[in-house]
Assembly symmetry: C2
Homo-oligomer: 481 residues x 2
Amino acid sequence: MFESSVYKNRRSALLAGMAESGARGLAIFLGNTEAPMNYRGNDYKFRQDSSFIYFWGIDCPGFAAILDLESGCECIYADDVDIDDIVWMGPQPSVASRSALAGVEKSKPFAAFAEDVKAAMAKGRAIHHLPTSRYYNNMTVAALTGASYEACTRPSSMTDGGRHASLELVREVVKLRLIKEQCEIEELDKAGEIGYLMHTAARRNCRLGVVEQEIVGAMEGVTLAHGWGVSFTTILSQHGETLHNHHHDGTVTDGRLLLVDAGAESNTHYASDYTRTYPTGGRFTPKQREIYDIVYAGNELAAGLAAPGMTYRDVHLAVARVMLEGLREAGLVRGNIDDMIAEGTLGMFMPHGLGHNMGLDVHDMEDYGEIHVGYDDDQVRSPQLGLGNLRMARRLRPGHVVTDEPGIYFIPALIRDWKTAGKSLEFINYDRLEKEYSDFGGIRIEDDLLITENGCRRLGFRRLPASAAEVEEAMAKDREE
Amino acid sequence: MFESSVYKNRRSALLAGMAESGARGLAIFLGNTEAPMNYRGNDYKFRQDSSFIYFWGIDCPGFAAILDLESGCECIYADDVDIDDIVWMGPQPSVASRSALAGVEKSKPFAAFAEDVKAAMAKGRAIHHLPTSRYYNNMTVAALTGASYEACTRPSSMTDGGRHASLELVREVVKLRLIKEQCEIEELDKAGEIGYLMHTAARRNCRLGVVEQEIVGAMEGVTLAHGWGVSFTTILSQHGETLHNHHHDGTVTDGRLLLVDAGAESNTHYASDYTRTYPTGGRFTPKQREIYDIVYAGNELAAGLAAPGMTYRDVHLAVARVMLEGLREAGLVRGNIDDMIAEGTLGMFMPHGLGHNMGLDVHDMEDYGEIHVGYDDDQVRSPQLGLGNLRMARRLRPGHVVTDEPGIYFIPALIRDWKTAGKSLEFINYDRLEKEYSDFGGIRIEDDLLITENGCRRLGFRRLPASAAEVEEAMAKDREE
C-alpha cells in the first residue's frame, strides 16, 4: 500500500474530473469478494478489484466505498471480525484503521452500503458505478439498481437515467489510471524484475525431453516466491501459433520453437508481461532465424518509435510495414507494401495488435471497454484482422505503459481459411506456406514500455535476451551451468 | 480422463439410485465457466465443477448435461469452436467427440440446454440440480428456474415443487462420490506423491532468514510442475495458531514453529492435503517437543483406529481423549477426562474436527451441505467448538477417504475469550497458558487415510517425516545437502 496521500490525491482528482464532466450523485466502488474455485470456501487466491486498489488501497475481500460527487464525502463499508474469524484468520486490523491508511475518516458496517445507495436512489440521485468484472459484484449491483447483467458490464452515459455502468466514471477513471505515477512506475519495474526472473527460470528449464508443464511449474514457482503470482495464465507451448495456448502436455523436442508468454503480478498487484521464443535445441535453424529476425526488427522498431505525440496505431503500422518487408524478402509475400497495409495482409501472419495498456491489470481496465481505454475520441477501430485487434491505439503521453509484442505465426487453419476465401491472393505465397511452414509454429517477442518525456524505456531492471544471438548465447551459458 | 465405461457406470448407478428414491424428472448438470480474476477474459486457471468431472469427464468450460431420470436419455450441451477460437485456442476436438469419450451419444449446442430445461418445466417435470458453487452457474440456474440465490445453494426435497437444489440428487451423488473406485484411488495416490514432493520442498527451504513467501513459491512451483496446482490456498506460517493463515510476509526466525498445511491437485483433479510443523532452527525445544508429541500421538491413534464399522466421530473422540491426557501430563489441563470430553474442553486447544472427506474436492462436496456429506442420518452435529466443527462423523466404509489432522494451538484471543466467559475454569490452567504459551503458536500433523477392508492406509507412495525424531533427522539431512 502506498502513503495515504496517494489515494487522497487520486480521489480528489476523480472528484474534480467528475465535476468537470457535469456528473452528479454518488460514485460507488465495490471491492471483490472471494471467488469460489470448486466450492464456496475453497477460493482462488484473493484478487482485489483493480480500481478499488487504485482509489482505496485496501486489499481485503468484503469492502465497498462511496464517494459523494457533490459533497465530496467519502465512506468505506466493511464488517469488523469476531472471535470466530480471529480463530481462523488471526487478529485483523479494524475497518476504521484500514480506512485511515487510505486517508478515509468515515467507515460503516457493510450492510449500510446498500442502505446508503438506496437512500440516495430514493432521492433521485444518480449512482455511478464501474462495469462489474466479477459475477458476484454483478449480482450485488443488479440487486441494488435493478439493472440487467448486460447493463452492469457495459458503460453508457448516465444522462439517460442510469441503471447501468457509468460512462462518465469510466472516462475519468481511465484518464487517471492510464498515466502512471512515480510510485506506480517503481512497482511496475519490480514486476518487470520478477518477470525477468521467471522467464530466466523458463529458459534454463527448456531442455529436450522435459514436459512443458515442468517448465511452467519452475517459472511460476519463482513468481509466487517474489510476487503475488502470475498476471495472467501462462502461455508456454511449442505450438506458439496458437495465440493463447494453455495446454502444457507436450514434451520438448529438438528443432521446435518454444514460445513463452508470461508475466508476474507484484505483491502490490502491478503487472509485467513478457514473451520470448526459444529454439528448443539451443540454436535457431536458418529458417527459424529468418523469421525470428523479422519479429525482432519489429520489436526494436516499436521501442525506437514510441514517444509522446505519436499514436500507438501508427507505431503498429510502422512495425507492420517493416515486418511485411521482411516477409517479402523471405519470399512469403510479394507486391507493394502500401497495398498490403491497405488490405491488412499482415493480419494472417499477426492476427493481433502490437500491444495493450498495462498497469494494475495486464490488459489495463479491459473490462471498461477497449474502445474507451485504448482509443482517443477521434479514433475509429479498424475492422481488419490484426490492426482491428489492436487494444491500444491512442496518442502516447508520458506515463503511458504499453506492451511491444509483434509476432509472426503460421496457423494452418487460418492459412486455409484465408486461401479458401481468396484473401490477399496476389500478395501471399500460399503454396510455400502450405508446403514449408505448416509445422513451423509461431514467434513473438514482447517487452513492456514506459512512455517518457522524450521517448520510452523498457520497464524492469534488466532486459531478457532478445536478439537471436543473445538468446543463443544465453542458452549456451545455461547448458554450461 | 478415465475410460468411458467409468462415467457410464456412474450415471447408471445414479439413475438407479434416483429411481429408488422415487425421484422423477430431469437431473441437470452445469459445468463451470471461466472465473474472472481482475477482468472478464483474464481468468483464474480453469477448474471444472467436480460433479461434472465425476459424471461426464469433460474438463472444459462451457458444458452442461442432462440426464432424464425417466427415459435414461442423456445429452451434453456445448458449442463447437469457430476459426476465431482456433486462432486463439488452437484446434479443438468437437463437442460430439468429447461426448463420445464420456460414453454419451447425443450432443447439442449450448443454447438448447435452456430450451430443453424450459420445455420439461412447461410439462411440469421436476428439475433436479446440485447446489451451485459458482456465482455464474447460480445466475444461470436462477434465470432458468426463477429460484433465489439462497435456494440454488441449499438442497431441499423436490417433493414440494422444486425451485431449489435437490436433496434427492445430493443424497445419491454423495453416496457415489464418497466411496472411491480403484481408478480414483490411483489418482489420489498420485496427488499424495505430489503433496510429498511439495512438502519436501517446503521443509528444505525452511531456513532462518528466508521470507515465508519464498518457501510458498518453491513448494507451489513443485505442485504446478507435477499437477494441476494447489488443492487449496497454502497455509504456511509461524503463526500456526491462526488456523487458515494466508499471510506469508514473516521472516523465518529461530525458535519458532513453521506450520505448513498444503496439498496438491493432480492433473485429473484429485486432491491431497498434508500438514507438517517444523522447528525453524531444525530442533524442537523441550516445550515444543512436549506438545508435538501429544499431537503426533493423536495422529497415530486415528490411523490405528480408523476402520470399517467405526464412526469417525468416535475416532475424533478417542483422539480428543488421548490429547487431553497429554495436556494433563503437561500441566495445561487438570481433572477427569470424561468430564472434559463432556464439556468440550479440548475445543479451546483444537477448535476444529479431526478431519474431513477428500476426493475431487479437498473438502469433498462441501457445497452440498456438510450435514449431508459428513453425517449419517442418525447422527446429530454437536454444538461444541471442536467436535461441532467435525466435517466427517460418518460410520466408516471401505473406499472412504478422510484426513487425519489433530492439532494443538495457543490462540491468545480464544484463551482470553474462554477465560472471560468462565468456560472450563475447573479444567484449564489459564494462568500458565497466559504466562507461558501466548507466543507458542500452533502444531498440526495431517495425513490422508483411505479406509480399506480391514482398517486404513495412508494415501501416497511414501509418508512425510512425521514423528519429532523423523522431522529433526530430515531437517538435519537437508542442511547437510
